[in-house]
């Protein structure tokens, strides 16, 4: 059933597919698309003193490459650098090559704020691709709003935010949660849910939305338990025992970071075989990146709800995965956030070209409604609330650490960072 569905819905974008994915050598073929710098005098397209010259434009990359978050954020840095290289190979933006200044947030929120200020005030970058955790985004937000910068933020997150200075290229919570819950209810007949998460704002907000949806919008369904554990927690045996007593149809797990490894190993050790689906394990926090740490054998059979999986079978994605591996090595895996980070430079490029200017205010205005047909996840569009319209997909983890896509929504899901009825 599902196999039929996917190629059909992804048929559209193939026409321009390899443009996004193609590396330097094919760029010359597409030269007519390139815009020439002399058509866009610097004085006209940069009226606010950003770092734009006659043949370059400078942007910032602000992620943690040291500290505990480095393992998660490295993929985003790699994706952004790939996108920049590809854009440059196609002739850059308004005839200008993109140069980047990379700063290390060092997994430390004050450092993120300091570096964000440095990029905007000192380096005058035209946009910033960066941040990963909500805490780091919250730390830089006042800096971007005060200095009128533009941040492209890649991570799926809890919503409840709509800054004029941020484009959210990942999903907000409702986009990631609702379709997945409906799917597990409709196709697997699941009625009872056990919610579990790490103890901070994203899992708590996500589970709140999940609970409201289960209780108010799904007939005959109920939440039988809800538990939170501190970040870094590694003892899940007591909650696993509780789960076995309650016998839920679905364990809805939003455990993050190092805790994931302990949780899934202990789940397996306790005799819960996820391949038998009793109970079903559905997560929104484990991408292909995390499976590398958890181990495919511990994750096999679990379902994850994302907008992107590395295994997506469409021309855009095949080209993207190939280019990514060519640049960063065969062994690399690509998770949901990595793909969202890859969209950042492309969305910005589209907005700049639509505006015919690098000025932040003009780019912000032009950004709304920008479509990207070359996105590895398929087709995306920027909503006026600065989030992306995108599909929700469910994948099932395989032994080799990849997901097999078993479901995707027929249409793009509208982003709704302040969902009514879910507060």
């Amino acid at each position: 059933m599902t196999d039929r569905k996917i190629p059909k819905s992804l048929a559209g974008p193939s026409r321009r597919a390899f443009m996004a994915g193609s590396a330097a050598m094919t760029a010359s073929l597409f030269a007519p698309k390139a815009l020439f710098a002399q058509d866009y005098p610097t004085a006209q397209i940069n009226t606010t003193g950003l770092a734009v010259t006659d043949d370059t434009v400078t942007i910032g990359i602000l992620h943690s490459v040291t500290g505990t978050m480095a393992i998660s954020e490295t993929g985003s840095v790699q994706a952004e650098k790939l996108a920049i290289e590809q854009i440059n190979a196609q002739g850059g933006i308004l005839g200008r090559k993109i140069e980047y200044i990379q700063e290390d947030g060092a997994s430390d929120w004050p450092t993120f704020a300091e570096k964000a200020r440095k990029l905007l005030v000192n380096d005058k970058v035209a946009s910033v691709m960066g941040c990963w955790t909500s805490a780091s985004r919250k730390a830089v937000l006042p800096v971007f709003e005060q200095n009128n910068g533009m941040l492209y933020y890649p991570t799926f997150y809890e919503g409840l935010e709509e800054s004029p200075n941020v484009i959210y290229t990942g999903q907000e919570a409702t986009q990631q949660i609702i379709a997945g819950l409906n799917w597990v209810n409709e196709t697997k007949g699941a009625k009872s849910f056990y919610l579990l998460g790490s103890d901070y704002i994203w899992p708590r907000t996500s589970n709140k939305i999940a609970r409201k949806h289960i209780e108010n919008f799904m007939d005959g369904c109920e939440v039988v338990g809800e538990d939170y554990y501190p970040l870094g927690h590694t003892q899940f045996n007591s909650v696993i025992n509780k789960i076995r007593l309650k016998k839920p149809d679905v364990i809805y797990a939003i455990v993050v970071g190092g805790s994931n490894v302990a949780f899934y190993k202990q789940l397996k050790a306790a005799g819960i075989d996820m391949t038998k689906e009793a109970p079903i394990v559905l997560t929104i926090s484990v991408t292909e990146d995390e499976i590398r740490g958890i181990g495919g054998e511990n994750m096999e059979g679990a379902y994850a709800c994302m907008k992107y999986f590395q295994s997506l079978d469409n021309d855009n994605n095949i080209a993207f995965v190939k280019a990514f591996k060519d640049m960063w090595g065969e062994d690399i895996v690509i998770g949901d956030v990595t793909q969202a980070a890859y969209l950042g430079p492309w969305l910005w490029k589209a907005a700049v070209e639509k505006a015919g200017s690098f000025d932040i205010d003009k780019v912000r205005e032009a950004q709304i409604g920008v479509e990207l047909e070359t996105a590895p996840e398929g087709y995306v569009k920027v909503h006026e609330n600065h989030h992306l319209w995108s599909k929700t997909r469910v994948g099932r983890a395989k032994l080799d650490g990849q997901y097999e896509v078993v479901f995707e929504t027929a249409d793009l899901v509208e982003p709704n960072p302040f969902p009514e009825g879910y507060q």
Partner: protein, 376 residues
């Protein structure tokens, strides 16, 4: 020792204070743009902690690996006030319960907790910035020093406090903002603290407060209390047998260090614009000890230079080598500890001061150069 060291200021001290004052009040503001000046303002907030550590550790021999607790408490007090001011019903109209801080709303709180209420008052907040860390230090101090817990055991216990407070803040996110901390602070009594002008004013306020703390520290060092502290550090039992109440002196100096740290934390919140648990935990607490060690744990002025130098190195190394800078910084620390065990102040006292005094022909250098070898 020489009589000269009993005076509040030797010529050498006056020179040291004057040089530092010129650097902080004149050279830095003139040489740096607004962004860099704000960064140095941030570094100087750590200097408050480092000065407190010189008194506790360098003079008193009390190594605290939990100064981040006090820095954080001071910072959180200030952040609570600023957050309440930023959370007007108008600004938070989209929330289920307008008028309370946004993170409370996300965590389904529907009313402001009672212990947040007093932080609507700036006056109360300014007292709390000092009082809360001091009360906390008093409790720890009484519990530890009265039982004669000292040395390594004390260091480990303070570290445990840092861990406990971090976990508490993260766990109680409905009341504290959790991992994200308290963010999006805007105005202080209607005065927008995010503008460049405000940041410059705050830099000078910060520098002024730091000098006030330095003067208090200098006074303590030169008073009878200061000499008793050094005596306790080197031979605690003898001081006790001489009839002094050792524990009370230790508690006092520990509380003074906490008060300095609290002021530093509050100034940090004002200048950086938010407070989060990453500034409370074990890692920042140990970093603060490093600032003190690099500057020289025996010298209050050295502590300021240490805080400035280490943080400046951190910033510029991470800007130039985003993926390798931690290695470089680590190497720098090892080098300092191996080659200059008494830090920058030690280098000055051993190599530069004798030459200077030779140049001026005075004997002023003699008072400062005797090697104060710490007990541990």
């Amino acid at each position: 020792m020489e009589r000269s060291s009993n005076r509040l200021f030797t010529t050498q001290d006056i020179l040291g204070f004057a040089v530092l004052a010129v650097i902080i009040f004149i050279v830095l503001p003139m040489a740096l743009d607004s962004f860099r000046l704000n960064l140095f303002g941030k570094y100087l907030t750590y200097a408050f902690v480092a000065v407190g550590l010189v008194l506790c550790w360098g003079a008193g021999g009390i190594l605290s690996l939990g100064q981040g607790v006090f820095f954080g408490l001071g910072g959180y007090c200030m952040a609570m006030f600023l957050k309440l001011e930023a959370s007007t019903p108008k600004n938070t109209a989209i929330q289920s319960t307008p008028g309370i801080p946004d993170f409370m709303d996300w965590n389904q709180l529907t009313a402001l907790p009672w212990w947040w209420e007093p932080f609507n008052s700036l006056f109360f907040t300014m007292i709390a910035v000092v009082a809360v860390p001091v009360v906390f230090a008093l409790i720890i101090g009484v519990a530890m020093f009265r039982r004669r817990v000292g040395g390594v055991y004390f260091a480990i216990i303070t570290q445990a406090f840092a861990a406990i407070l971090t976990i508490l803040i993260i766990g109680q996110q409905g009341f504290t903002g959790g991992v994200n901390g308290i963010t999006d602070l805007r105005t202080l009594h209607g005065w927008d603290i995010r503008t460049n002008d405000a940041k410059e004013v705050l830099y000078f306020v910060n520098a002024g407060l730091l000098f006030a703390c330095l003067l208090i520290a200098q006074f303590v060092r030169k008073s009878k209390l200061g000499r008793l502290l050094i005596a306790m550090r080197d031979q605690e039992d003898r001081v006790r047998f001489s009839g002094y109440d050792v524990a009370s002196f230790k508690i006092f100096i520990f509380c003074l260090g906490a008060a300095f740290a609290g002021i530093g934390g509050a100034m940090f919140t004002l200048q950086v614009g938010f407070m989060s648990p990453t500034l409370v935990g074990i890692v920042p607490s140990i970093e603060m000890v490093i600032f003190c060690a690099v500057g020289g744990r025996l010298s209050i002025l050295g502590a300021v230079y240490g805080a400035l130098l280490v943080n400046w190195a951190k910033t510029s190394l991470s800007e130039s080598f985003p993926e390798l800078w931690l290695l470089g910084l680590g190497g720098l620390f090892i080098a300092v500890v191996m080659v200059f065990p008494n830090g920058l102040a030690g280098v000055y006292a051993e190599h530069i001061a004798p030459r200077l005094s030779g140049l001026f022909g005075g004997k002023t250098g003699a008072a400062k150069s005797p090697k104060e070898t710490p007990a541990e």
